[in-house]
């Protein structure tokens, strides 16, 4: 990736002399940077979702943490993949995956939440904070 940057930047240095910048190299560099950023962001939200599922106290609050993985985590990763895709068809398919995720994941979450509610799972309500470390020891 950095080799690309150097390759892309070098013509800029001599621009006055040669006045030719290979824009396809510049574009692919920008694309790679954006891909790495969105994949890293997606991974961060997936990780945050996993941490939330472990840390939160009850069933319903854990659903919210799982929701982060479904939305921004998955969508950012898909966006990173779209940037790397070649051909309109791959892009269209990835967009379809993103769309189906948008429609199906809340439906699944609602189904699970509704089932738990109907089965009598009582939600934890009111203010709650993590117990201090010495309490658990």
């Amino acid at each position: 990736m950095f080799a690309q940057l150097i390759m892309a930047a070098e013509p800029v240095v001599h621009e006055a002399a040669s006045a030719s910048v290979d824009w396809s190299v510049v574009w692919s560099f920008i694309r790679n940077v954006l891909t790495v950023m969105s994949l890293a962001g997606g991974l961060f939200f997936v990780l945050a979702g996993a941490v939330g599922v472990i840390r939160l106290p009850d069933f319903y609050t854990r659903l919210h943490a799982a929701g982060m993985t479904d939305t921004l985590g998955a969508e950012l990763i898909l966006f990173g993949l779209i940037l790397q895709a070649d051909g309109w068809q791959v892009i269209a398919k990835l967009l379809l995956v993103a769309f189906f995720l948008f429609v199906t994941s809340p439906t699944a979450t609602h189904a699970v939440a509704y089932a738990a509610y109907k089965a009598g799972e009582k939600p934890l309500l009111g203010r709650w904070r993590a117990p201090a470390l010495e309490d658990e020891a």
């Binding site: 939200f45 945050a48 941490v51 939330g52 840390r55 939160l56 009850d58 319903y60 609050t61 659903l63 919210h64 943490a65 929701g67 982060m68 479904d70 939305t71 921004l72 969508e75 068809q89 269209a92 398919k93 379809l96 948008f102 429609v103 994941s105 809340p106 439906t107 979450t109 609602h110 939440a113 509704y114 509610y117 939600p123 934890l124 309500l125 009111g126 203010r127 709650w128 904070r129 993590a130």
Partner: protein, 163 residues
């Protein structure tokens, strides 16, 4: 109903074309046969209506998804902050949010948007309200849901006046 048959045909053909991308006569014929069978089945089931083919309002729906995505990003950041904070201070609440949308499509859109936004989950649907579980009490203010309700009704092409 005839209008929705045409819309459904176009949508199915577009889906087939995007997913396969082949131009071989055999595969195109198979695609045509599949579309015909789907059309016949949905006509027989009498479900050829706006809910089966809600593509007339696609531009609005896409615009709504754009707005919703910004909301999702904001909510994600709020939930990450709450989850990652050392003392994990949360205030789960259950709130009844009134539904203003009339059609099933508008209700589904609204409930799905609530669930899609991290920090709020639609737990139960009733005739005129949705029971919403929120991770933080400040996320469960019914006034905050009004904009989402109006926008989701607009996204499925529901008129404010006649419902």
């Amino acid at each position: 109903m005839f209008r929705f048959a045409i819309i459904l045909t176009l949508a199915l053909a577009a889906t087939w074309w995007v997913l396969s991308g082949f131009t071989k006569p055999l595969l195109l014929t198979l695609g045509g046969i599949s579309i015909a069978i789907v059309l016949l089945m949905s006509a027989r089931m009498r479900i050829l209506d706006r809910e089966t083919a809600p593509y007339l309002t696609l531009p609005q729906t896409l615009a709504y998804f754009g707005w919703l995505f910004v909301e999702i990003i904001k909510a994600n950041v709020a939930v990450v902050k709450a989850v990652m904070s050392p003392d994990l201070e949360i205030s789960p609440t259950m709130t009844k949010i009134p539904i203003s949308g009339k059609s099933d499509l508008a209700k589904t859109m609204f409930a799905n948007s609530i669930t899609l936004t991290p920090g709020t989950v639609a737990v139960e649907m009733a005739e005129d309200y949705i029971l919403v579980h929120a991770l933080l009490s400040e996320m469960s203010d019914p006034a905050d849901f009004e904009e989402m309700s109006d926008r989701s009704a607009w996204a499925v092409g529901e008129d404010e006046s006649n419902g």
